[in-house]
Subunit: 277 residues, 4 copies
């Protein structure tokens, strides 16, 4: 039962009256309990909690006037993931998938799975199934795509990354998600905090729906899955921006951290499959 301290500081220079929606607060689920949290806005603006999308995302909406504006959020989160034996976890056939996961088979802005049916079949169609197949996808993405800061931008999609072979965490997630969906495996994007991420930043990873649960995966292999704290989720990063800004504001400073307070993470055994959904 690791306990994790997360925090984020976002400082903006606001040029015109601007509406912000922040997605920096961990979701509250049966596997992820907020023991304590603290939100400070400077200046001390009114804000509103928004539940955008499904699954207990807790976003913050506020309007800031011109000048300096800073958000400081800090929380202590207790994680109690399910840990299952990966080799036993199989895929769910299309005729028995629950209705609420079917949307996560559809192509989305950054995950054009509709174009990748033959690709996925040729690369991952032959032998494996279930958890092992998603792992094979992560291995492939990890090996075939270089992690290069600045190599992609806000319009880069899985197909772009499969051609350019470079990207950052959201691109690794998008590419993996697109390949999963192309094989009939529901997959969704997760934004969150990650213990031990270097350099410290928000993180993007994904979950695949297997045998009745959403299991976590991360093709970047940059941090242990057991230290991931979920903030938002959606079809892809379009649904889980850390900050949406309508108006005019410049990010002046950003600091993100996630450290183990008690218990431990990063000690998942080779065959541990981790689910928090």
């Amino acid at each position: 039962m690791p306990i994790i301290n997360v925090s984020s500081t976002l400082e903006y220079n606001v040029a015109t009256p601007t509406t912000f929606v922040f997605s920096v607060v961990p979701a509250e689920t049966s596997h992820q309990r907020i023991l304590q949290e603290n939100l400070v806005l400077s200046p001390d603006l009114d804000y509103e909690w928004l539940n955008v999308g499904k699954e207990n995302m807790r976003n913050i909406r506020l309007q800031a006037n011109p000048g300096s504006f800073q958000l400081d959020y800090q929380a202590t989160v207790e994680l109690s993931p399910d840990v299952d034996h990966a080799p036993m976890i199989d895929e769910v056939s299309y005729q028995t998938l629950p209705a609420e996961v079917l949307d996560y088979l559809n192509p989305s802005r950054y995950c054009e799975s509709d174009r990748l049916a033959l690709f996925a079949q040729k690369e991952f169609g032959a032998h494996l199934t279930g958890y092992s197949r998603v792992e094979a996808i992560c291995d492939w993405v990890h090996n075939q795509v270089d992690y290069v800061s600045g190599s992609t931008d806000a319009s880069s999609s899985a197909c772009d990354v499969l051609i350019n072979r470079a990207g950052v965490c959201r691109d690794f997630a998008h590419t993996s998600i697109a390949l999963c969906r192309a094989l009939g495996i529901p997959a969704r994007y997760i934004s969150g905090y990650a213990v031990d991420l270097q350099p410290p930043d928000f993180h993007g990873f994904f979950e695949a729906y297997l045998q009745g649960k959403w299991y976590m995966f991360d093709a970047t292999r940059m941090a242990p899955l057991s230290g991931f704290v979920r903030i938002g989720l959606g079809r892809d990063a379009a649904d889980a921006s850390f900050a949406t800004i309508v108006g005019s504001a410049t990010l002046e400073n950003m600091q993100v951290s996630a450290v183990v307070d008690a218990g431990s993470t990063g000690n998942e055994a080779p065959n541990d499959a981790i689910s928090t959904s």
Copy 2:
């Protein structure tokens, strides 16, 4: 209060055991009442009702064995849309949009609104607002894009259509949706039946969120809005396929119809804005 008879017949040659999800049944809403309906499957297979996505989509899932398979659906639907005075309908500012419509501002597979901010601003940013602005988008799409059967395929997106300037109903909807979202107006894709559509077929159109309601629009201008019967909705056509097929089956025959049984449609006045959501 028009009453509309809709029907669809879909006949397949099934090659291997195949799972189908059909989205051909009208949604039941406070504005759209199913007076009577009849579903016949030949052979008489077991099926399951699926509520995919939100908003009362009623999909049918079944598994068919090799051989011939036919679905016949027929319903009588009473429509009671809200009719508002279009020139009075304004946009909702970002800081007051309800949480449940925010997803419809995000770019999606076929509506890359993230790329179109400058485009939309240059073409539609200057004068209009609200219902009139969405109408201006529909006018532009109607005039700048040719309706050409076969000019696009299942991977064509709004950006493709803006370049190629040709498409079919789903492309007209995608392009309009993308431009709305790029201007901060939530927009979503609707699949349905349409009275007077020539040639008869399923139809794809869209809704924009204005002043607290979802209003219907159709840049194809091929049929009267007041004769539209909603089946499904979603971010774009990826969420609202008439048939999703996992396995191997060939569509041998398709017949779709929508005719007025009583009351009338198509008589919306120039300034009528129609909402059924």
Copy 3:
């Protein structure tokens, strides 16, 4: 010294006065001698020989009036390719490439080599060089891309094919060319006739510049290289259409054939590298 009979018949229904440029006549080179040829136009229109691009392309330009129009071309061609020992053929370093081949390193409409540097390096960068490396590219394209008639259209490029993993001969050539250029190997598109092609049609393949010569390759592996008769060449298929039509005309019938008249083709040994340039 195989001698090959080639012929093509193209029949059009012309709707308005239309200008045609046909590229169906074999090039005359030191390795490809036209022993006899015959061109019949019905009706018997005036035409002009055009040398488009470099390298002895002999195109035919004419203007046809509304009505039926047919071109029949037939020729006997003697091929005398250079046959070299493939394993000995190396790449030419950038600092010694002749000026006239440098354009064939640049990306072109259907061969976006500028995007594929990392891709090509990861897939083909490690061990091989020279002829063997181009062969490895052809093997990869042959195995990873399905030959599917109708899977692509006139706007499909190498990057599309690398995602969709399906195409026809021009797509196989474009993909191979793009990967060669991304590795610094000049490559160009060739249109031509091919003995034993099934079904009979015009063919598209490519040449790579190695050790001072342009060597032929064909990732489709559908016909023997030694039975290829070159018509046109260029950066990609945009430069080598069999017919360019400005006006309005419909192709009603097309017949293409290439058969061995004397000598033999298709007997290249495993290590034969064939050059006709």
Copy 4:
């Protein structure tokens, strides 16, 4: 007869033995005479003159070893353009275009004219022809595309710019070229020096083939056409990079200038059409 002093300084930090091809030297044509020029390399490396492509491009190829490397080029150029009366200049019909300009009707990497036939017809098909039509294209691009440094990268094409509506000089040229070709007007990319360009830099513009000559155009409107000094030309910017680098080197400093030495530029009358080809 303006006389123009041009110069460029390019300073690199070379990491590994690297081959450079520089395209910074003005072409010598009947309309552009080099009165004097001076090339200094530091260190004083061997180099080779390369005539890449057609039309008297004079590129410099050399190999540099690790360390600092600098190229200084300076020239005095006398321009004697043809100046014609724009409203009289018409398009050339496809059946009479000379063979050597036909390649410039084909789509190229950054100018996907094959996709833009309907677009160009809808926007520019109605009234104008000849020089006025190309001017209408330049007007449209000038008004619809924002000049934004850093908004595009080396893979951005005309279709990207038509969607994103932002770009730099090469993007303005690519978009205009693509639209010209889509209308049957041969167009090509020109790289060069431009008097009065702010900030000083190399420039990219284009030429369209009308009534037997290549006329200069520039949709950026950032500098007078009569002060343009041509370096290279090609189908698009892929053929006319200022520096092609094979190896590993970082540009540390770049300075470009073009100033009038005698005579004058920028005084073209409203209806002057300028040709130097």
